[in-house]
Symmetry: C3
Subunit: 234 residues, 3 copies
């Protein structure tokens, strides 16, 4: 599964993306709250839908509504744009985890919920058992998938400042959480390579830049240097 | 104020940019002397003008004329393309500052002048009092705004090699030069965040990459993680 | 000579590229095996050919066929797409150098061969005499040009991890191999600047990103800060 992050594409750029990468893309996230600023939202959603690619708003949009006490407005926004997926996150706000799980359970009645674990704040580092606890609770509350946070840049959450994977953390998460329920945000090539080598060609990867879906597909297929040997040796 | 840097967009790419980001862009710079190399200049200028977005040639074009003793040709070039703004800089050449100010005063009769302070040479570091002196003189000579140099990469002038802001320098400049007369070149996200937190949502930022105008707008609005808390707490 | 790397452009993006940068581009490489994944190959090749720009498949495609024992299929693929150039490399596979040279000699009967020297593996560092030996043998076997490897990222082969040029290596190569037979992969601006200063405006540079051809052209012309002085002082 490949999740692409659209940070404000024009309609023609969406068409170009679909032409080249549509067949290799499973879902598109409109990054954080960019959907709120770009003027072409209805038409853009139509383009993705006509291509059979589901779309959802980045979690920061959810948080921007919640922090203002506008949960009902958020639901109406999802309705207004006929969204079939939504992201529930707490990367920029602090809410009790029970409350986050309640949102997941409520929203699940309206849409397919993807929830995100991990703070966007580099100083907030959770222990592995905490990641597992949060992921388990959110899946139980009704999340279809949980996203392991890394931001657009790939230097927080499951990664160190340098972008290097927190390997011990990932290993420990995988002892408890089924692999296919996790989407690993992996915007950097080295991160994509690392997860493909660990979990195979079909690993769920997110926050892939628009122009990186084709390069990622070659990594998955073992026809780029970085994974060339890996798949031959199997 | 947001100034976008066009490093050689095609006409369709300009149209795409205007569709998505036109409403959030106040002025466009055709980066350094790229306008001299791209074959679509007349049509490109027309697209920006039809969208109501002013355009100017990067200062390196001015310098390329001046160093060859072709000031008059430069003025004719501005005329030929019906430019309403121009940049006067000395980032790549060394000229006496009096002479630079004379160019500002002369060009001001023809166009709105934006002048740039700071060298593109990483080894040339000015003391704060010098920045202030240069900026004051250029504003007095007739510059509409002064640009604080950072290059496309954001690692010289008001920034350290690492891209980190020279905070003391910025603070000292602001004690003497009115904020609204300065455009801070801030190509990197962390730099944009820093200036928005210091000077507010409407701070003048320049050298914004084509695809970063929408992300910048979300920073200004406090709907991206980096500035989310900042605006809530006000 | 400027070689641009296409990592999966759409047809419209190719048209946009040709509009702006076509006149400054001598040859296009479809990066590694991306040509195998993008769905628009026939039409894309036609666009480049109609613009008079030769195209070839990145060497990893050659290697993917060779490692599977499908040399004949590779030749048929070149035929099927009417390719006039091809790249022979061993960046991801290990084959005896004699065998690589035999492929060059055989393929030379069908197409113009560009061969690549240097591993994509950062841990495989050749001594300068070895680079020279390999380049000489490949040119003698029939390569039109030899490419000095750097990958898309510019941090292996002729560069250190940091992207810095291995100057001694380049100097030594140039004592034995004619400059015009070498294409230096130079994806980073500092690398392009370094080679332009060493070898002049017309140096052969490869792996130039789609949007960097215009910026590179300004470097070659001495109308960007980095090479501004260099050409004035000559």
């Amino acid at each position: 599964m490949t999740m692409m992050m659209d940070k404000g594409l024009s309609l023609r750029q969406v068409e170009d993306f679909i032409e080249v990468s549509g067949a290799h893309t499973d879902i598109v996230k409109l990054g954080w709250a960019t959907s709120f600023v770009t003027p072409n939202l209805d038409e853009k959603l139509k383009l993705y839908r006509d291509a059979g690619i589901p779309v959802y708003f980045g979690g920061t949009l959810f948080e921007a509504f919640i922090i203002r006490g506008q949960y009902d407005d958020f639901c109406r926004t999802l309705d207004r744009y006929k969204m079939e997926h939504c992201e529930v996150s707490d990367g920029s706000i602090t809410i009790p985890h029970d409350e986050k799980c309640e949102y997941i359970t409520k929203l699940k009645k309206q849409v397919t919920v993807i929830s995100e674990v991990g703070s966007k704040d580099v100083t907030k580092i959770f222990a592995p058992y905490k990641w597992i606890q949060l992921m388990e609770a959110e899946l139980q509350a009704g999340s279809w998938k949980v996203i392991a946070e890394a931001r657009e840049s790939g230097n927080v959450g499951i990664y160190r400042d340098s972008g290097e994977v927190r390997q011990g953390l990932v290993d420990e998460i995988l002892t408890k959480i089924p692999q296919d329920t996790i989407i690993w945000e992996a915007p950097q090539k080295a991160q994509q390579v690392w997860f493909i080598k660990l979990l195979g060609a079909n690993v769920n990867l997110g926050n892939i830049a628009t122009n990186d879906v084709i390069p990622l597909e070659t990594l998955r297929l073992g026809i780029r240097s970085d994974t060339f040997d890996h798949f031959l040796n199997q």
